[in-house]
Amino acid sequence: MNEPQILVFPSRVDAEPTVFQERFPLPFMAIKFLHTADLQIGKPFASLEDASKRERLRQQRLATVQSLASMIEDEALDFVVVCGDLFDSATPDKTTVSALCSALGSLKVPVYAIPGNHDHGGPGCIWQQAFFLREQEQLAPNLKVLLEPEPLVTEDYVILPCPLQRRHVSGDPSAWLRSAPEGLPDDRPRIVLAHGSTQGFSSKGEEDSSEGINQIELGLLPEGAYDYIALGDWHGMKQVGQRAWFSGTPEQDRYGKGENNQPGHVLTVEIESRGAMPSVQATKTSAIGWHTLLGVQVDGDAGLDELESTLQGAMGTRAGQDLVKLQVEGSLSLAGFARFESMMESLRARSLDLRLSAELEAEPSQEELDALTRRDDPIISAVALELARESGAEDAEVAGNARSALRELHLLVAKGEAQS
């Protein structure tokens, strides 16, 4: 091996590399591997209405896995561990099965994987289906799915899998490691693979986590018995013990929650020898931008300008690579509201998904109101006057309806005038 050095990996989106821990000098027998989890290939992204956009997100998850090949080659990684949820579903279709096998096969090095809560190893699981076994043999001979909690001893390392063998497992899948299995060679690093939440840290609130079902009690594992505990399930990246890490998903698949949530990374782990502290390095791999803009205040044209520049900052001129969750509130004139609507029209087209929550008051300006109420068209002006009166009503529903109607009337009149 070469001299120790700090490797800097360019991320897919960000220019800046993220380095979590410096690497230590490596002894001759050191091993170096890639830790990832929660690939969730085949995730339907069903909340997106546009089928092509859904497909775009699905394809990206595969592309991200494929993109790991160059990294593995560049860094001469020995193997890859995937800590559960390779598939999004326990019953993936054949296309998805073939695609995953092909992507993992392209990584060349051995890939050790355990089933997670999404793709558990229970009865009828995908891992035992004839089609999967055939595709694995032909496309991904390097893939080894560990379905039983028993040590896998290689010449250079020991893998200790904690697979989820059922759809619902109420116990700790790592319980079998609470006393180190007998007869393990003590001259090579031991790597635990597990899927689930940990003490004091769980993916509570995540819609598809295995929360509360398979709790991994890290504290009960004997100290010094294992060198690295590779965890999956939580989609953010997080160190949860001296030797325990969640890698998170390599491709972000939902809107982030909180600042500590850092999805879209893989971890490169290097262990010099049995007992040595592992060196862990994160690399951003996510290609899709998930933007969350909450509590944006828009008042008048100035507010709209500000919103426009925020969106510009987040997405630039990209199209088809971002998802936006936008929550706006404030008050706009009728014209301002029309502008806001056209902005949203663009945003909706450019993004893969726009989840908009707008609490906007469309208050007509005095000129707008005058233009509607003081005109020669007796019906329009009478109705506008009536609506303007109602929009100040105490009953919020009445007032809201009146405002909407006023806005609609404004649009209709404007359209009529434009035509004539």
């Binding site: 579903s89 019953t91 009828g124 289906q129 007796p378 009536e386 009337l409």
Partner: protein, 899 residues
Amino acid sequence: MKLLFAHIENYRVHRELKVDLDESLNLIQGPNESGKSTLVEAVHRALFLKAKGTSELHRAMESSHGGEPKVTLEFDARGNRYHLEKTFGSKGTTVLSASGMSQLTGGEAEAELSSILGVDGVVAGRGAASTLPNRWAHLWVWQGQSSNSPLEGLSERAGDLRDKLQAQSGTDLLSSAQDGQVIDALSGICAQTYTSTGKLKSGSELHRVSEALESAHEQYAEKQEKVNALHQAADDFERASSDLQRHGQSLENSQKQLKEVASKLKLVEQSRSELKDKSQAKQEAETQLKSLESADQDIRKLDDRLKQLQAEGEPMAKRLDEQSREFEEQKLGLEAAIKQRTESNECLNYKRLEVDVWRAQLSILKEEKRLAEFEKRLEKIQQLREKQRELERKLAPLNPFSASAIKKLRLLESQLRDAKAELKAYGLKIEVLSSDQAVKLGNKALDTGSVETLNESAELHVGDGVNIRLTPGGARNLREAQDALAQAQDHFDTALKTLAVAGMDEAEESFQKKENGERELKSLEAALKDSDPEGAEQGRQQAENAISTAQARRDALAKDLKEFAVESDEAQIEVKLSELEASLNVMQSEYKERNARELALRQSVEAAEKQLQVLKQSQEQHLAQERELGVELKVKRDQSGDAEQRAQQINRLRARFDQAAEAEKAQLEALQRLGPEQLEMDQKRFTSSLERDQQHLEAARDRKIAAETRLQSSGLSDPEAELAEAQARCEQLEQRYERLNAKAELHRNLLERMQGKQRQATQALAKPLEAAVRPYLQMLFGDGKIQLVWSEDGSRLEQFSIERGTLGSGTYGFENLSHGAREQVALAFRLAVAELLAADHDRCLPMVLDDAFTHSDRARIEKIKTLLYRGSQQGLQLIVLSCHPENYQSLGGQEIGIA
């Protein structure tokens, strides 16, 4: 504007017609074809049609009288009196003049006229025929159009009317073009979503989304079911696996247990077999002991019994002996008694024979006596019969003198007497009391005091001069009486002759003789009957029979008697019989006594014999018993030995039995220690558990295979992903539906609001006109109102309906009214409109009503007259045309006749 004068020349039927019109109310009357309508047409053309022209209209005006059609009008307008002259045709001219105004001609005149009349230029050129009727159509009701909707006539004046009404109502909220555009746009948008009845339109986006949502829900349920089925299969698989394991373990355990139980059971089997042997040995010893003990017992009992029998035998033999002797003695006594009784019986029988013989003899004697009596009676009867025959012979000739013959004869005699008497009554008695002259009857002279009876006519002569013919009873009756007498005599004689008698007395005598003879015969017959000849004959026969029977009996019985001599003396026999009977009685009582003794002895002997038999039998039985016992005892002793031998053998057998019992008890205890029942139960239990486990295992294996099959993925789709997609699709569609629905509702509400405003405006516009019509309707119907609807832009009146107070409830469209009601309501409306529009014409406008009330009855025409009068009072000039002037009496207007 008021029409004052019209002068028509060469216009159709009219060569020349001049009419002065009243300023307010005119009735132009004339018969059909008189040219009333032509007159008002000429006036209308003069006002509105360009004079110069060659159109069809112009040609139609031409008259057969020749010359150009010319109309001259005078009218008041704008405070002036105008004079208008129009000559129609290719060289047509128009001249309009008024005081204080220079005369106008041609186009200028036409233009000025249009301006005065408030119309949009004179009607000319092409299309004139269709435009002309619209001119003042609200004021001009042509013949035959009175029941048309009055709205039709408003086409040209609707704008004026609206302006007037708007000014009156203060409403200026009528739609603008822009309003209309927005409303149209909104209607268009709403029409995409809703049908005209406000229902969701199929094919609209909202409808499509709603349907898609429904199908998405179905899809979701379907996918959910698929996933559930997979989960169920996985659960089944796990359960089956766990069952396999559990029952597998149970099976193994049962097998192991069974093996252990089986080896223990083998020991039990062995022990049982030994126990059986030992029990058998014990039983054998017991049997032998018991049999010997019982034999010993039997021998002792038999011995005792035999001794007892022997002791009982002696008294029994002694008793039998005694009884035998007694029986022989009694038997001898009985034989002696039988002999005595037999002797007594023989004596008795002989005595009875003697009695019977003598009784028979006595009976013979008695019967012979009876026989003699019967023979004597029979002799007497013979004498009576001879006497009877003698009498009958004597009576035979008197037969004709029957009672009826005599009666008839008597009648004839009396008739003869009567005839004689009648004839005698007809006689005339003549008695000469005194006479001074000779009286002669016929030739016979009658002296004083002489009496003569005349039976036939005779002449009575008194003196010489007096001759009197006397005819008794009238000649005729006398003769009849004489004839009757002759006839009666004749009949009577004939009857006597028949009876061969001379006279009545002889006949009476013969009749009497016959009567007496018959009486005597009757008494003879009675005597004969009393002596019963048949009974006497019978009695004689019986007596003879009895005698012979008794003789036979006597002779038969007498044969057995030692001696018997016939005795004929009854008394002797009686004595003998009484002696014999006394002796018989004595003998009978002796016999009875002996018989009783014999019977008593016989019974005693029989009883003794019976007892003897009993004793004999009893002794025989006793002896047999004794013999049997002896034999049995001997056999037993031969078998079991004597008493001592038996005692020794019993002791030996008892010791052997005790030993065997001890051995059996020990073996049983050993067997109980092995717990055989428990072991057998265990074996049963484990076997059945084994079977059940095998069944369970088989079932679990089947279930596992079935679940595995269900879990085999086709891989064609991902059910979980599809479920997530289906759910998301439901949510998206729900949101979309909400959005679309809210938007559609928004549009609909906005449209309703705008249309509502429009309606308000047009309703307000209709009000003043509705109010103006109301007083006229009240006159017509007592109450009522009309409802008018303006088009949304106020360009025309679109609907006209009416509500009549007293006549039917509800609101009717104008077109739904009857013809009569239509022309009445139309008049009311026209008057009201004319009133309103008159404001621009010096508060006066003419209205022409040509035959406008043909559908109204008289009563209604009375009301119409009131309406017309009110109209005239409001300033209108009314010109009514009719061929029925009588309908318009007291209209209060000027009447103009056209010939």
